[in-house]
């Protein structure tokens, strides 16, 4: 029996950081040292702390090595010899205290979290069903099939208070019940894994790290609503998730969890993977079903029957998010009451966020509902790095909004976030600092939504473009003060008038940035300055004369020959010629740091 297990995260992010090569090297070394009998190397999903990937964990000690390189493999292997010692230099260092932390359980990023859905991500091999079974996998399904009626299952989900974790927050139990009630012997269960929100990757991580939990949840849902067929609609940009889910489904079928006669119970259910071809709007239920049917994913306008009544192929269809399905086994195993005891009055259980942006500890986190933004950002996330100042946090992706520092006390739940002008959305949480321009951020999100607009309804198609054009003008220095009110008017109309959630929420980033950062808009328009020094039209590159060593690098590299000067002659940027491409800044040797960006364009005096 192996004495030790080496856990190696193999999520997309880990692999991007080189986890595959490390694994190969490590295995080779272990074989070379003849440790194969006592050390088992296990591939797992991502553990979520992307910032320090690739991560190697040694169990049972619980040692964590961060930012491991291929060259570290021999040393890690040697440390696993009976006489081996932990490798201190690979320990994670707390960014605040700079203290080395050997054990993963002591890392603040982890110890403030409450992992349910992500519990096994990073601990089990997602390509081995036995690993899943070893942590109690498919017990919920066995229990459901042997002890519970479909109605009892639905009752349990209802009592748990679980709400749809795809963004909408519709009570899952009620949706299941509605789907069960519609007569029909042909129904579908669809798992929405079309995670198109730029800046969110929790669905991917769950599918890569613990795919069986989703499969199990779907089978239980199928039993509860009376469906025989399930689809997982997953982005084609997630090849690893597709692969692991495919393996999981095949294994589940082999073990009798899927098929015509699940666990000999007479209940038949099977799952097919459908790879979404890239359309953000397909996260909307009717668009998603149209997409499954091979059509353009154009959401169907209200009033219309719900998807639970007329869904895929016109049949009753239960559509839930990856995380919603992944929660089901816990509700069944630990009980609805256990689940309902977590979180807040109206938002039960946990929330998962992709914590990114200007944040020290970037990664995937699972927290109890009700935790405040401040706890997430500063305790788990470690605050803003590089001594910069926190400015705002953006949640909910393109559909959400930004919240300023004053709202950091806002508890995380569906309703509080919405009230603050943002939303839970699909769980993106992007922290921005003083170097981020809020106008540019709003422009960025609108650029995204207008590209992703299905083009069907006039308000979303044309309104989002109109707003983008106005924001472009503002960021280029051509804004008019009345544009702010125009943005609000357009935004509110698009909000009221668009067909689907994508359109209705498209103005949120603009409206919330105006709400909390109106002065930034005003300085763009009135002072022609971008305070965050981002908007090209409203900044200037200058060469600080006493830092300039007249090395000629920037002068030669400037594509428009806007830099004057010569050998031993301090360089100066001709602001009329400068296109603000930023080449000078990137080529100026770091030790000089002579090129700086300053807000505004009235800088000729510097010449």
């Amino acid at each position: 029996m192996p004495v030790r297990t080496v856990l190696l995260g193999q999520g997309t992010c880990c692999i991007s950081a080189g986890a595959k090569q490390i694994s190969a090297a490590l295995r080779e070394e272990i074989a070379r040292l003849d440790l194969a009998g006592t050390v088992q190397v296990k591939h797992t999903g991502c553990r979520g702390f992307s910032q320090i990937d690739p991560v190697v964990i040694i169990e049972p000690e619980g040692l964590l090595y961060s930012e491991v390189k291929v060259d570290d493999a021999p040393e890690i292997a040697r440390s696993l010899l009976p006489q081996g010692q932990p490798i201190e230099r690979l320990f994670y260092r707390d960014p605040v205290t700079d203290r080395a932390i050997p054990h993963h359980r002591d890392i603040t990023f982890y110890n403030k979290q409450q992992r349910t859905v992500l519990k096994n991500c990073g601990y089990i091999d997602p390509e081995e069903i036995d690993d899943y079974l070893a942590v109690g996998g498919y017990q919920a399904l066995r229990k459901v099939l042997s002890e519970m009626t479909p109605e009892q299952v639905i009752e349990a989900v209802k009592r748990s208070g679980l709400r749809g974790l795809g963004g909408g927050g519709f009570p899952a139990g009620r949706k299941w019940e509605a789907c069960r009630r519609v007569p029909g012997d042909e129904k579908y269960v669809v798992c929405n894994a079309d995670e198109g929100d730029p800046g969110a990757f929790q669905d991917r991580s769950v599918l890569e790290g613990d795919p069986h939990s989703v499969v199990e949840g779907m089978i239980i849902a199928g039993y509860a609503v009376g469906a025989t067929k399930g689809y997982v609609y997953v982005r084609a940009e997630y090849p690893l998730a597709v692969k692991r889910l495919g393996i999981a489904i095949a294994e589940a079928r082999e073990r009798g969890f899927l098929g015509e006669n699940v666990l000999g119970n007479g209940f038949g259910f099977d799952i097919e993977i459908f790879q979404g071809a890239g359309a953000f709007v397909c996260g909307e239920s009717t668009a998603l079903t149209l997409s499954l049917e091979g059509a353009r994913g154009m959401p169907k306008p209200l009033p219309r029957p719900r998807t639970t009544e007329v869904g895929l192929w016109g049949r009753p269809t239960l559509l839930n998010n990856v995380k919603t399905f992944a929660n089901i086994r816990w509700i069944i195993n630990k009980g609805a009451e256990w689940f309902a005891s977590q979180g807040t009055e109206k938002s039960k259980g946990t929330a998962i966020f992709s914590l990114t942006g200007k944040i020290t500890n970037c990664g995937l986190i699972e927290v109890p509902m009700g935790i405040t933004l401040r706890e997430i950002i500063f305790d788990i996330g470690g605050g803003v790095p590089g001594g910069r100042t926190f400015k705002a946090v953006q949640t909910g992706g393109p559909s959400g909004g930004v919240l300023p520092e004053g709202l950091l006390g806002t508890p995380i739940d569906f309703d509080s976030l919405t009230a603050a002008g943002s939303m839970m959305g699909s769980g993106g949480m992007v922290v921005v600092d003083e170097d981020t321009c809020m106008v540019d951020l709003a422009r960025y999100f609108l650029d995204f939504t207008q590209k992703e607009s299905c083009g069907q309804c006039s308000l979303c198609r044309l309104g989002s473009v109109q707003m983008l054009e106005i924001l472009n003008a503002i960021t280029e220095g051509n804004g008019r003060i009345e544009d702010i009110d125009l943005l609000i008017e357009l935004g509110e109309s698009v909000k009221i008038g668009s067909i689907c959630g994508l359109g209705q929420s498209a103005p949120n980033p603009v409206l919330s940035t105006i709400r909390y950062f109106r002065e930034e808009y005003e300085s763009h328009i009135l002072e022609k300055k971008c305070p965050a020094r981002v908007c090209k039209g409203l900044i200037s590159y200058i060469i600080v004369s006493d830092k300039c060593k007249a090395c000629m690098i920037c002068l030669r590299k400037c594509p428009v020959e806007a830099i004057k000067g010569g050998k031993k002659e301090v360089h100066v940027i001709d602001q009329d010629k400068c296109t603000r491409c930023g080449v000078c800044l990137s080529v100026c040797p770091e030790r000089f740091g002579a090129v700086e960006i300053i807000p505004g364009r009235e800088v000729k005096i510097h010449g």
């Binding site: 997309t12 940009e237 499954l292 091979g294 990664g363 951020l441 491409c581």
Partner: protein, 157 residues
């Protein structure tokens, strides 16, 4: 009510359900969707050619012109954006002398952007040929990447 239901159900030609997977396979094979193939798919799925094109052009994944030997995707995810993706995209454009969605004239590179590849910790990043992720980029690093890949390409050629 019965009539309405009948109408709803009969409007579905289920062959259509395989449309997108089939298009994905075609693109896998050709790198893009050739016109003749779309005509064949239409017949196979029992829909008209315009429907095939309408659906295909809706999704970001599908292309209608041949693709370069190397596919460069610049992530335009939020994390990448706030960490400087626009500059990265500009630099890539300049390196390859193409705009987004275009292919270099020597068919060596196709430049695309992608909503998010989910490597937010590595932001800003690009992914080449769907496998090589280059993260924590600066414009300078971009220059290096293409200098080396171009060289490799030449060596291979």
């Amino acid at each position: 009510m019965k009539d309405r239901l009948k109408e709803i159900l009969s409007s579905y030609k289920r062959g259509r359900g395989k449309l997108i997977p089939i298009l994905q396979q075609i693109q896998e094979r050709f790198g893009y969707l050739p016109e003749e193939e779309m005509v064949k798919v239409a017949q196979l799925c029992g829909v008209t050619e315009s429907k095939v094109f309408g659906a295909a052009s809706f999704y970001a994944q599908f292309r209608f012109t041949p693709i370069g030997r190397n596919r460069v995707m610049v992530c335009r995810g939020t994390a990448c954006h706030v960490r400087g993706a626009p500059q990265i995209l500009n630099e890539v454009k300049r390196q390859l002398a193409v705009e987004e969605g275009e292919t270099t004239s020597d068919l060596e590179y196709t430049l695309e952007t992608v909503a998010c590849i989910g490597c937010c910790a590595l932001a800003p990043c690009i992914i080449i040929n769907n496998k090589d992720v280059h993260g924590r980029l600066t414009p300078k690093k971009v220059t290096d990447i293409f200098a080396s890949t171009k060289k490799e390409g030449q060596d291979a050629g």
